[in-house]
């Protein structure tokens, strides 16, 4: 069977716009949260977010590095984040100058949970105020979810599969899992895979706040708001950014002497078939998703040393996921570390699964697991498991599991491990 490995990484997050910077800040326990600066949020219930920082910030994002000026003017932030993260991953993998034959076998699977919400909002206001003849000719293709894959394929000449997943907060994990299958099934040798989101805009914050999904009790203390598993948690903090990996067929990567980070060995998917926003009360979808990923990997729970949890800091979700992990792992729960990096970077929605899979890969590389910030008092259902409170922890990490669950009851789990010949 064709094996799939990771040979390049790219990140744009609230803790930095370059992989090593993000990882250093994450391990140092920094928080990317702050008051919303993107727009006047004074009339919102939630007035905080984890924003990608501007170019002049210590770890800010400069869109001019990899995204053409004209493209920047035409597209929504999620596409800009996605193009940059994909570019980082391509450079990291040493694939900037692929010959044509290689590019026929290289594709994109970079999705988003929501897509161009800020642009839909602003152009709708233009439509209402000035009429249809003032709507931008770039309105549609500047907002469409598959336009990261589209833009990246045009920029780098990638003529293989061009795909984009839309499964809310499971998008990033599904994108990587689906792309890995395309390589396994011989549709491609190389896939740019990941997810992006950029929905910090008035209607985005208002919509999630009205769905009672966002934290609203920490507007005056933003860095304390994302607190997965803690008794005081009251909702997630919106993040933004992108994560993209280069997936490559193992022999292909070896033949060109590529740096190989990890192997994608397991992918599980399931549906809750329960409720549009609430997770299944027994966490059955989460359980089956993880179980399938382990089965595909040919692993048992005691092979997994680190779980990067979905753990969004919502009152219901955190305990249900933890309960499902506990049931699946049995006694192996005593040896696993499980943390939620959403405590530091917020919830990147469609980008989350990809960004967090990259954190799993870096945990494998450096044999250290990132912390769950603000976990001062675990709630009743969250005790007896190493949730890596406050500080990163050096430990053995042979294989890691990432969970992503989305609205609509869509679940995805990925297992990555260090490569063995």
């Amino acid at each position: 069977m064709r094996r799939v490995v990771v040979t390049g990484l790219g990140l744009v997050t609230p803790l930095g716009a370059e992989v090593e910077t993000v990882w250093k800040n994450l391990l140092a326990g920094k928080s990317g949260a702050g008051p919303i600066t993107r727009f006047d949020a004074s009339d919102q219930k939630c007035r905080i977010a984890c924003e990608v920082k501007p170019a002049d910030h210590e770890y800010g994002f400069d869109p001019n590095k990899r995204v053409d000026h004209k493209v920047q003017r035409q597209v929504d932030p999620f596409i800009i984040f996605g193009i940059d993260a994909a570019g980082q991953a391509i450079e990291d993998a040493g694939l900037e100058d692929m010959p044509e034959a290689m590019r026929f076998r290289a594709g994109c699977s970079i999705g988003s949970g929501i897509g161009g919400l800020p642009g839909i909002e602003s152009e709708s206001l233009v439509l209402a105020a000035k009429g249809p003849s003032r709507v931008s000719p770039h309105f549609v293709h500047g907002r469409l979810i598959n336009l990261i894959s589209g833009q990246v394929s045009i920029k780098y000449g990638l003529m293989g599969p061009n795909h984009a997943v839309v499964t809310a907060c499971s998008t990033g994990a599904h994108s990587i899992g689906d792309a890995a299958r395309m390589i396994r099934d011989d549709d491609a040798d190389i896939m740019l895979a990941g997810g992006a989101e950029g929905t910090i805009c008035p209607i985005g914050i208002a919509g999630f706040a009205q769905a009672r999904a966002l934290s609203t009790s920490f507007n005056d203390d933003p860095t304390k708001a994302s607190r997965p598993y803690d008794v005081a948690r009251d909702g997630f903090v919106m993040g933004e950014g992108a994560g993209v990996v280069v997936l490559e067929e193992y022999e292909h990567a070896k033949a060109r002497g590529a740096k190989i980070y990890a192997e994608v060995v397991g992918y599980g998917l399931s549906g809750d078939a329960y409720h549009v926003t609430a997770p299944h009360p027994e966490g059955s979808g989460a359980f089956r998703s993880m179980q399938m990923a382990l089965k595909k990997a040919g692993m048992t729970p005691d092979d997994i040393d680190y779980v990067n949890a979905h753990g969004t800091s919502t009152p219901l979700g955190d305990e249900l996921e933890l309960g499902a992990v506990r049931r699946l792992f049995g006694d192996a729960i005593n040896d696993v570390s499980m943390s939620s990096t959403k405590s530091a970077i917020g919830h990147l929605l469609g980008g989350a699964g990809a960004v967090e899979t990259i954190f799993c890969i870096l945990a494998l590389r450096d044999q250290i697991v990132p912390p769950t910030l603000n976990l001062d008092n675990p709630s009743e259902g969250c005790v007896g498991v190493d949730l890596v409170p406050h500080t990163a922890k050096k430990r053995r990490v042979r294989a890691a599991l990432n969970n992503s669950f989305g609205f609509g009851g869509t679940n995805a789990s990925l297992v990555v491990k260090l490569v063995e010949d």
Binding site: H69, R134, H138
Partner: protein, 78 residues
């Protein structure tokens, strides 16, 4: 250089992300400045907003250089 020409060139520089010295009056939007057909639709909208003129589709189709735009605007603005 006329006031119209200055304002037209400023819009072209901003929208197409090109160097100001490339935006000569003879420059073709598509051949010299890297625009595509949708960019021209957007430029025409920006000219309409800036100068308060209406540029009908059949007139817009004939605007292919910076000079074409300046001329149309000077002849039609109120």
């Amino acid at each position: 250089m006329s006031d119209t020409a200055d304002r037209v060139k400023k819009i072209v520089v901003e929208h197409l992300g090109v160097e100001a010295d490339k935006v000569t009056e003879e420059a073709s939007f598509i051949d010299d400045l890297g625009a595509d057909s949708l960019d021209i639709v957007e430029l025409v909208m920006a000219f309409e907003e800036e100068f308060g003129v209406e540029i009908p589709d059949d007139a817009a189709e004939k605007i292919s250089t910076v000079q074409d735009a300046i001329k149309f605007i000077d002849e039609n603005k109120g």
